[in-house]
Amino acid sequence: MEIIEEKQDTVSVFRLNGRLDSSTSQGFEEKVFGAILDGSKNMVIDFKDIDYISSAGLRVILKATKALHREKGQIMLCSMQDYVKEVFEIAGFDTFLPIVGSMDEALKSF
């Protein structure tokens, strides 16, 4: 999986490409928590080019969400493909995670 990290004003943006599973989730977790340690409070994860996610990927998102909440920050997830979104729904994560249609929408929410 490819991870592109960038800053848009004070928001850390992660653009993911590939499959977020137990063989790739650790690298992603390190990057996300690296950004939190560096002081990032607001984060957008762009799922546009993610075509697969397993519970290992959901776990990283959940851990990051909890960490950002403690910092009074916020996470936004955007541009999910249908199958991927369905995994969030089956897990019940869509009830407490903000999932929006586009990057623009995600950035406007901060």
Binding site: R19, D21, S22, S23, Y52, S54, S55, A56, L58, R59, L62, K63, T65, K66, H69, D82, Y83, V87, I90, A91, G92, F93, T95, F96
Partner: protein, 142 residues
């Protein structure tokens, strides 16, 4: 429709997830199911495979995990077999995600997904092996 059965083996290494994905795609195409069904077959097997290699072995040696996928009419059956320590993943607690972010526990999530994706799951310990059989009825949309 004739009964079709496909069998393959994976080593106990996370890098084998790539092979699992490829095999699910190839088998899914040849049994003519939708991309969504292929995704879900892959997800269910991934969760079990990851569980097995995370908790099933403590000897740091190579092990083989055997997977077979059978389609008989509208019945899809996936069987996953390993020689790890006895472990019935179906006994793990179902996580409660209706409890707000802070209280939300992380364990058992993979099994929760499998239970939602499949119609029937059965565990057996047979001849020093863990055998899990997942069943799902294929519907028109699949």
């Amino acid at each position: 429709m004739v009964k079709k059965c496909y069998t393959f083996e994976l080593k106990n290494d996370l890098s084998e997830l790539e092979q699992l994905c490829q095999n699910c795609e190839d088998i899914g195409r040849s049994i003519n199911v939708s991309d969504k069904s292929i995704f879900e077959m892959n997800l269910a097997l991934d969760e079990l495979f990851t569980n097995i290699i995370s908790y099933g072995f403590n000897d740091h040696r190579e092990h083989i995990i055997k997977i077979s996928i059978t389609v008989d009419g509208d019945q899809l059956e996936m069987r996953i077999e390993d020689d790890g320590i006895p472990f019935n993943p179906l006994e793990s607690k179902t996580p409660d995600f209706q409890c707000g972010i802070e209280e939300c526990k992380i364990g058992g999530l993979g099994i929760h997904l499998i239970k939602k994706l499949m119609d029937d799951l059965q565990y057996q310990r047979v001849a020093d092996k863990n055998v899990l059989v997942l069943k799902r009825k294929l519907r028109n949309a699949d």
